[in-house]
Symmetry: C2
Subunit: 368 residues, 2 copies
């Protein structure tokens, strides 16, 4: 998918448009993962015209900051890329809805970021606006991850809001995820003389039994309820229809609340499968919601006071790894992300912008 | 693999050779499955020269019978084909051993058949010699199976000896085999929200638990000990590393003693897995050893009185399906079948021929 230079692609972004109109403008500038350069150029150009912001660029990632010496600094972050277009461009408005690729995930969030960047020259907290690429593809290409590795100082803050579609509900932190293989071994034999063998699949009975009997925790962290889960996600065993199998491998995924470290999560899984060989194949830490921080408490109040735990692993964990608690909060509808009929509510865009504006202009609670 | 016309291929078989020399002659006439025609022609030609035999041919299968009006009729059967040649032709004699493809499995047995056919014009029991093709390949091509379907009357008898390699030990009957799939179903969900799903792999815990706890029977039939076995031979489940799987399939193989019918075996397996859906994918009946028959008792006495149960499924079951009890008894070594270093003991060939000759010329026990 390529953008179309010579048409609207080269016209500058007009940040005086309202949030819905700006979202439509961003949506009509295609930016499928890997092809974000033109949109990034436009974003950078628009931000550099704002004298109250310091702008940095790294690849197709742009970071713009106020430098007001406020007691707190918060990040508003969003990715510029979309999944591949699915015959759903150009955008189309119909009543309160705006249709098109990226309307929910997450150009409506980016529009809100840009509106706030343009209209808040003197916010109550210092602001860092992060726009990044390649969120919709493999983790190694993720722009936020590459920024965090190359320029961690650009991302320093007390709190971060990732403007991913969250149905205008605050989603705090995220679970950690650990994947292990439990490998059962036995002795191969002809099925007609099974007593000469040792069936590795039968040995998996105990492993699956422990999984079936496992009682996952539910944990309250900063008022958010995290439900854990320990599940077999794969099992393979068998040589041929007439052979006693000598190997069976169970792959287990542990999704854990962010009060456990990856090391604690691994120790727990090893304890569950005591007596069996456990090999870790994949591990990503969770992220604490950080809703005990003053900036976060104020944010929560401004956005209606309601929050829920985030269950999937998201980029908030990248902030968490830098010591910055982070939440998801954006106007899009997460259930419509990546769908052909993706759309977004125009009034939700306006409401999201207003609530963030209230948070960033209201009184600031002193740090306790 | 093709045979070599123009060399020894066209020379007639000399049935006055001793068993070892005749085996070497047969081994040096290649007859890999599907390429048995020249050897079949030679066998048919040699048998037609024997005035005491009635010879029939069906494809590359030859059946030769005495028609003496004896009280009992016994079959001596053997397949003409071999597995592919593995740089182990021509045959080579060294001391008591004859090396080469097919020496054990089972041209030594065929040589004994041909020797007896040529030298027993007036046996104590009517004899049916069966030579068939394609035993070493898929069941649908098996010559004995096709003979049984097209000309079951050619195979009528009171008892059959299949001259497969058995280490000169009588191997009676064979186990039945039943294969079923036990399919566990659940509800797919994202692994981060596992409580929204229902893990099909965890449901397999109970199925594997029943298998691990299963106590197989050991059954004595006609003095032979049959050990049963119920085993998972395959297990597959899993969608992706972050998905609660909605299906897990366990494939189970039941090897059962021939006192159970296929229907009884299926009912037993369904009982073991009561509460789970069981789908039969494969079923082949066992074969009773029939060692209570007079011909069999005399055969056993003549061959040394020792017999053991046959565990793998073999062509004896094809005779059993026609109502003819059958055993394996042949001079080859079953552990050498299909191996590059396949060989056979020359003295075992002579001994096997002598024991069968004793059985077929000694006094006949009256039918009780």
């Amino acid at each position: 998918m390529t953008s179309q230079p010579g048409t609207s692609a080269l016209a500058r972004l007009d940040l005086t448009l309202d949030g819905g109109a700006l979202t439509a403008r961003l949506v009509d500038q295609p930016s499928v993962s890997g092809d974000e350069q033109e949109l990034t150029d436009l974003v950078e150009q628009a931000l550099r015209e704002l004298p109250h912001l310091t702008v940095e660029r790294f690849g197709n990632n742009v970071v713009a900051r106020t430098e007001l010496g406020r007691a707190e600094r918060v990040v508003l972050a969003g990715h510029l890329d979309t999944v591949p277009i699915a015959d759903n461009l150009p955008s189309r408005a119909e009543g309160d809805l705006l249709w098109g690729c990226g309307t929910s995930d997450m150009k409506s969030g980016v529009a809100v970021q840009l509106r706030l960047a343009a209209t808040l020259p003197a916010p109550n907290r210092d602001l860092t606006f992060v726009f990044y690429d390649c969120e919709e593809v493999e983790a190694s290409r993720n722009g936020l991850g590459r920024l965090a590795a190359a320029h961690p100082e650009w991302l320093k803050a007390d709190f971060a809001v990732l403007m991913e579609p969250s149905g205008a509900m605050v989603e705090g932190g995220c679970q950690g995820t650990l994947r292990v293989k439990v490998r059962l071994t036995g002795v191969r034999a002809h099925a007609a003389r099974s007593w000469l063998g040792d069936n590795a699949i039968h040995r998996a009975a105990e492993v699956l039994g422990r999984l079936a009997a496992y009682q996952p925790r539910t944990v309250l962290i900063d008022g958010l309820e995290y439900r854990e889960g320990l599940n077999a996600v794969d099992i393979r065993g068998g040589v041929a229809g007439n052979v006693i199998p000598d190997e069976c491998v169970v792959t287990v995924n542990f999704r854990y609340a962010p009060d456990r470290s990856p090391e604690q999560a691994e120790a727990h899984v090893r304890e569950v499968f005591a007596g069996f060989p456990v090999e870790v194949t994949d591990s990503a830490p969770g992220a604490l919601p950080g809703l005990d921080r003053p900036a976060a408490r104020a944010f929560l109040a401004a956005t209606g006071g309601q929050a829920r735990a985030k269950f999937g692993w998201t980029d908030v964990a990248r902030f968490s790894a830098l010591g910055v608690p982070a939440v998801n909060y954006g106007p899009g509808d997460p259930n419509l992300a990546h769908k052909r009929d993706e759309h977004c509510s125009l009034s939700a865009i306006a409401e999201c912008e207003q609530r963030l504006r209230d948070w960033l202009t209201g009184p600031v609670e002193s740090n306790e």
